[in-house]
């Protein structure tokens, strides 16, 4: 690579100069009085900047690719919860596992990462991916396994006592085998959307969030991807971060027309829902869009 060559170049130049201009009594009692050279200085400044610019562009392009799941691909969603000192996984299909993560080959796997305590970092060296898992927020990471096999993962962010044992393995299996595996649910495990619907029902969300008119809260069908206009005139396209905020901090942004005394009438569900429940609920709300296609 470029940087390796540059390093060799510096070593070689240094070695050559040190040998070529070694002190030899009677030959060179003192150094030549070479003045500086503005041309050289400007030259190597520009050259360095150009080379660095090229490396930056390559790195940024690769980084940008990881920011969004490629359009038009089927996505397998998995919730990843880090806690001292284990990794817990919950598949979109409902299965849960610890320290081992089964994934299908040839499909995009999107991890939603969060933490129950301190900062962890989910790191799969073979896939060249890493993403911190933070308490109180969700980060995402996607990869696609291309060859069946097992790939170690580890926690890369120091998190206390047993940090070095917070490791596990990804088992990449053919898609059909994965689908079959996914069906072997334990009692109590159910697909995420169904689990999310239960959370929705358990907390009586439908009492206010209903599709019928004259309810005190905005309807939720087809919400993700739609533009929302708020009390203060601001607007955004609803995404998962916005949904999350609306559940945990309803008064942060109130949809125009729904404020009561400048605030949302909805109570905060921070501390009420567990990480898993929140993930299930948000997953369910996303499927609401898929079910109806577009908004009302």
């Amino acid at each position: 690579m470029v940087v390796g060559l540059a390093t060799l170049g510096v070593f070689a130049t240094m070695g050559y100069f040190v040998w070529r201009y070694r002190y030899r009594p009677g030959v060179n009692e003192t150094g030549r009085d070479v003045p500086g050279s503005t041309r050289l200085e400007v030259g190597w400044t520009i050259a360095t900047t150009v080379v660095f610019g090229g490396i930056f562009a390559l790195g940024a392009a690769g980084f940008a690719e990881r920011q969004h799941v490629p359009a038009g691909r089927d996505v397998e969603d998995v919730l990843v919860v880090g806690k001292q000192w284990m990794w817990k996984f919950q598949h979109g299909g409902g299965r849960r596992e610890i320290a081992v993560l089964h994934v299908p080959v040839g499909r995009v796997v999107r991890l939603s990462l969060t933490s129950e305590d301190v900062i962890h970092s989910f790191y799969v060296p073979a896939f060249r991916v890493k993403q911190d898992a933070l308490p109180g927020r969700t980060t995402t990471l996607w990869f696609e396994a291309t060859t069946p096999g097992t790939y170690p993962f580890a926690c890369a962010e120091y998190c206390g006592g047993e940090h070095s044992r917070m490791v596990g393995q990804i088992v990449a299996m053919p898609a059909e085998a994965y689908d079959a595996w996914l069906e072997h649910r334990e009692p109590g495990e159910m697909p995420l959307a169904a689990a999310g619907r239960e959370v929705f029902a358990r907390h009586d969300c439908a009492t206010c969030h209903d599709t019928h008119a004259n309810k005190p809260a905005p309807p939720l069908e087809g919400l993700v991807g739609r533009r929302r206009v708020f009390e203060d005139g601001a607007a955004l396209v609803a995404d998962e971060a916005y949904l999350r905020e609306s559940v945990l901090e309803p008064s942060a942004r109130v949809v125009a027309g729904y404020a009561v005394a400048g605030r949302s009438p909805m109570p905060s569900y921070a501390g009420v829902l567990t990480n898993e429940e929140l993930f299930e609920l948000l997953y369910y709300l996303r499927t609401l869009k898929d079910a109806t296609g577009v908004s009302r």
């Binding site: 100069f17 070694r22 150094g31 360095t48 900062i119 890493k130 890369a156 120091y158 070095s164």
Partner: protein, 545 residues
């Protein structure tokens, strides 16, 4: 130094001497106090590193438990960063040399200088108390919310110790800035200053501007830890990433606090042993300031996978390349200074050549890490550990040893054994490569840092690294022996200017009198006038060449 201590009848004189040292306002003696203090911390940090390398020679919990290992790497980091690397060159060499180099009798505020040492010692003592009463297990980075609400170790005591070390840094930086502005000898204009002074000026600016942010951040951690007010822990409504922004706003510039003074040493030594003017004086001076300024704008490159926004990562990546450009300019100028020289490979020069090589390795691996897509893989692995040790140990410690050997005759009036000195330089260089090259590979293979146990597949390279570390440890003993040995027995007097160097510090006696110069020196020309410098005087230990 305190030779009187060895005669029983001299007890009274011993206490008198001790008192004189502990109340001195002479920058040269304070520098020696700092030298003794930071050497002690370097030894403690080194012993801890040794235990870590022994533990890592096996994949399980072989020698110490994971809990103990976590405390070891945390203390190694805390001690080496705040009680050795940051103070080393400025408080020892800078303290000793800046007044001499600018023709002043002392620093601008001698009492503040002594106070900075006492505050530093107090901070160090608190940290050592924390260490012996159970230690701290947060890593030197104190990432929240682990440090603020989860860790059961001595976070409060350690943080207080570091806070005091920060206060000491601010005192020193302030003192240097005022001194360099106000006390330069007649004729010593800014662009006639030795580059050593320039680098300390830039360093001081960073110390004064960045260290308060560290102090504030540590206080916030304390408040959350002790009182439970939510600042960083989301369980109390805080933001864990906020800490990382604060912390790296200080700690990235702090990297330049560690390396810039070392670059000053390199510029002095390379001219002297090439018998040449420095190539591109003004470019190096401006590059120094550029590094200091850009260094404040790159902290986010520690956070590419932390969850900060995509745009932020892009911007921090670009800025990180910008700070690499002036660093590269410096390396090119040093190489160009070798061109056409009459190069003598005395001990300081060997260390400096090692510095340039390893700084280049550290620099280009830094460029690799600043590359967004690559950093996603390498972040928080051994690659990062190897990278910053290459800059800090391969670069900064070698520059410090170069400076210590170069100015040792000036500070003590005695010459050290040149053959031992060179042996030390070679051993340190080779030991360094053997220790850290395997760690670059380990990181590339995906071994996360800060792990007490690891998978079998990393075993061989870990053993190689530990074996290399034993060479490195041996390497550090040699210069210690060489330098200490020179203090005992029959002295080989250094004379005023054994290296035939330019610079005001070589025009006074070795060691200099309390007032530094008997008459006010006047400067009439540029720095590094080697074409007109006196010839070096060979030491008894070995011939030049």
């Amino acid at each position: 130094m305190n030779t009187t201590a060895r005669t029983p009848s001299g007890a009274h004189r011993f206490w008198g001497t001790l008192r004189a040292w502990l109340t001195t306002k002479d920058h040269k003696k304070i520098a020696v106090l700092y030298l003794l203090t930071i050497t002690l911390f370097f030894v403690i940090g080194g012993v801890i590193a040794t235990i870590m390398r022994i533990e890592l020679a096996g994949p399980g919990e072989d020698v110490v438990s994971a809990e103990a290992y976590n405390r070891l790497f945390s203390l190694h980091g805390v001690i080496m960063v705040w009680f050795f690397l940051i103070p080393a060159v400025p408080t020892v060499l800078g303290n000793y040399l800046i007044p001499l180099m600018i023709g002043a009798p002392d620093l601008a505020f001698p009492r503040l200088n002594l106070a900075s040492w006492y505050v530093f010692v107090a901070g160090g003592a608190l940290t050592l108390v924390a260490m012996v009463t159970g230690g701290v297990d947060t890593g030197w980075t104190f990432y929240t919310p682990y440090s603020s609400t989860f860790s059961q170790s001595h976070v409060v005591l350690t943080v207080c110790g570091i806070f005091l070390a920060g206060v000491s840094s601010i005192f020193t930086g302030l003192n240097f800035i005022v001194t360099i502005h106000k006390l330069r000898a007649p004729g010593l204009t800014w662009f006639r200053l030795p580059l050593f002074v320039w680098t300390h000026y830039a360093t001081s600016i960073i110390l004064v501007l960045a260290t308060p942010v560290l102090g504030m951040t540590l206080l916030l951690v304390l408040i959350e830890h002790a009182v439970g007010i939510g600042i960083f822990d989301p369980a109390y409504g805080g933001d864990p990433l906020l800490f990382q922004h604060f912390f790296w706003f200080y700690s990235h510039p702090a990297v330049y606090v560690m390396i810039l003074p070392g670059m000053g040493v390199v510029s002095e030594v390379i001219c002297c042993f090439s018998r040449r003017r420095i190539f591109g004086y003004r470019f190096i001076a401006w590059a120094t300031l550029a590094i200091a300024v850009f260094g404040f704008l790159v902290w986010g490159h520690h956070m590419f996978v932390s969850g900060q926004s995509y745009l932020a990562s892009l911007v921090f990546s670009v800025l990180s390349y910008l700070v690499a450009v002036p660093s590269a300019i410096k390396v090119f100028n040093w190489l160009a200074t070798l061109y056409g020289g009459a190069i003598r490979l005395d001990t300081p020069m060997l260390y400096v050549l090692g510095f340039i090589g390893l700084f280049t390795v550290g620099g280009v691996t830094g460029v690799v890490l600043a590359t967004l897509a690559v950093d996603v893989h390498l972040h928080d692995t051994y690659f990062v550990v190897a990278h910053f040790h290459t800059i800090m140990v391969g670069g900064m410690v070698m520059a410090y040893l170069a400076g210590l050997h170069f100015w040792w005759p000036k500070m003590t009036g005695r010459r050290y054994d040149e053959r031992l000195g060179r042996l030390g330089a070679v051993l340190v260089f080779v030991g360094f490569l053997l220790t850290f090259l395997p760690q670059f590979i380990l990181g590339y293979q995906g071994l996360p840092r800060r792990v007490a146990t690891y998978d079998e597949r990393f075993h061989l390279l870990q053993v190689m690294s530990s074996a290399g570390a034993s060479v490195l440890a041996l390497g550090y003993l040699v210069p210690a022996v060489a330098l200490v040995k020179s203090l005992f027995g029959k002295a080989e007097p250094a004379g005023r200017n054994p290296w035939g160097a330019t610079g005001l510090e070589w025009q006074t006696t070795s060691p200099p009198p309390a007032e530094n110069f008997l008459a006010q020196p006047v400067v009439t020309g540029d720095a590094y006038d080697y074409p007109n410098a006196p010839a070096p005087v060979a030491a008894r230990g070995g011939a030049h060449g």
